[in-house]
Point group: C2
Chain length 409, copies 2
Amino acid sequence: MPVDLPPPNPAQLFPIAGVRIGVVQAGIRKADRKDLTVFLLDEGTSVGAAFTANRFCAAPVQVCQAHLAAGGQIRALLINTGNANAGTGADGLARARSTCEALAQRLGVSAQQVLPFSTGVIMEPLPSERIVAGLDTAIAAAGPAHWLDAAQGIMTTDTVPKAYGAQLPLGGRTVSITGISKGAGMIRPNMATMLGFIATDACIAPALLQPLARKLAQASFNRITVDGDTSTNDSLVLMASHQAGNLIIDSLDSADGQALYAGLLEVALKLAHAIVRDGEGATKFITVQVDGGANTEECSRVAYAIAHSPLVKTAFFASDPNLGRILAAVGYAGIADLDTDGIELFLDDVHVATRGGRNPAYQEADGQRVMRQSEIRVRVDLGRGHASHTVWTCDLSLDYVRINADYRS
Amino acid sequence: MPVDLPPPNPAQLFPIAGVRIGVVQAGIRKADRKDLTVFLLDEGTSVGAAFTANRFCAAPVQVCQAHLAAGGQIRALLINTGNANAGTGADGLARARSTCEALAQRLGVSAQQVLPFSTGVIMEPLPSERIVAGLDTAIAAAGPAHWLDAAQGIMTTDTVPKAYGAQLPLGGRTVSITGISKGAGMIRPNMATMLGFIATDACIAPALLQPLARKLAQASFNRITVDGDTSTNDSLVLMASHQAGNLIIDSLDSADGQALYAGLLEVALKLAHAIVRDGEGATKFITVQVDGGANTEECSRVAYAIAHSPLVKTAFFASDPNLGRILAAVGYAGIADLDTDGIELFLDDVHVATRGGRNPAYQEADGQRVMRQSEIRVRVDLGRGHASHTVWTCDLSLDYVRINADYRS
């Protein structure tokens, strides 16, 4: 059961003018499930993307990067679940390219104008012939209202579809933003991958899309962790169809640029948080906020040390305010000159530790109260500067081990 | 149940001339258990030590470092279980110092000649008065044959005592080495700490003890991980009583120096491995060896990425040859210019992956056979140099989560 994650609200999944979506059952790995999704993008749509930092990046990630680097307009995304096409070598690259070619041919564009995405079992050959066989139906079915279908069509072992939308006024027009994501760990056993697709009809200078996609990923999908494992296929794609009629945004520093970024970030965060809430075995949604650092990088190290500590994560699972574990994680996060006497620790509103030791006013009953909640904020103040960083994670439960130990059996 | 770890063989725990050990029940936390251990060292004994890198280091670690830095001869170690004296601030420091003073007074030495060690519950005041009350009995009971008692006297939630000894010929004499250790995770819930104490009667130049202790720690205790959490109290102490009559060893590069180091390393590795074999919930003992790196540091990063991956560890627990998880961990270990096409992966004698992909000759049945063993060697060849590094770890089991989630309840 995902943690405090309501199902997507169809009324909130706004169609994006210029973006049509087709979802079909192509029988890629299992019968009777939506497993092939195409995004068809009107001419004039700009695309930016951010990808996994894993050196073992999957074939479709490599093809995406090459097609984006070619610089042409991207006109379609082609997404399959059931097979990640990762760890598949030259054959995997050839199959990914062949599916792009098949879709491009049907659309009258070049193969480099298609971006491929795959998620599912790794180290097995991509059944590209089944993907190609499903393309005509997918194209014929394509329409602007199929966001929820697409959210279902990219799921692997996610327990719920993940979709979210927002609208905002921008230069006298209403701009829509809609996105979907999938993933229930940063990597799944054989079901690798976190994927996110966000589209807007806003008019944005094309050159802004790529930096904007990276900035959004840094602020959302790159700040979530279930188990610290980084997938081979992680991808976030941002599409702007330029059909809302707003005055073109050519800087994120303008008032309109800031408003648009805030809207995009809201959607990206909802989609990223949904992955943590649906994390493998998750029973708690935990925000780890580190303040008072000398720089963002050290705040990030401390935040991840806490978020990745199996001892901290099992304490959250047990609702046990075993807070020495959090301080110990701060201590080994790798800040060589850290003065532990300056450290403050809060659980929500409860001031647990002060000056590096137990707060004399702290009562275990207060810590216990917060630990029983399904959503918890851990806040550490390092007391050495003004930088901050926040990451989101879940607890480590018996079900996490069961899911990952039993998955293939 | 520890993994393939026979109980200590008393006949192998050689008395070390110049080292007497007293173990008593001081009622520090629980009745009817050995919880206070003193090592009394003859004049002329040299001591070296290595400590936790955690910035939240416990009061006894801080006192040890100050006493060693003072440069006088160390004449006694004072070790309690039941309370880690960590996260206890100025009061903890004062209590650690007061126990050193009490022992020093009884021995007619200075407080700075005593090293204190504590393990057990954290963030609770050290019951120093109970420690002091037990000192006279401990001193009176001290003798050279109490190594096994000491191994029991430093246990917290270890399921078995950990002790090992070796003898070797050195310059016409027989040199003895005996050691004990404790710990069942790099950190325990409230029961923090890995401790190791190794003594030898060999004659070694005193100036060599400190670098030798660090080198031994680097090659043994610093290469084991259960959950990646580094304790606030970890300590390794090396004592040389200089009573074996061998020609003094003033360089580790001499033939005798190399022989002695090999003997010490054998004991240190047995003691370090025993901690992993008795790791929380462990069902498998796993050696992770990374070869072919450009330097040791990158081999170490890859080895720890594998050893810390919850997905890899749960696959070992499930005896599931889910090998993409190992390749994915190699990929995200942080080697920016890693060419994955050069990577080879072996499970014991089974060649699983070649040139970064599945070895065409690999049969899952072979991987399955190795995964069912209680001891497994993972070997990765990065194919980019001649450096190597090895670490040891265990699997991540349901019992790990149960132990850490239920500990305080």
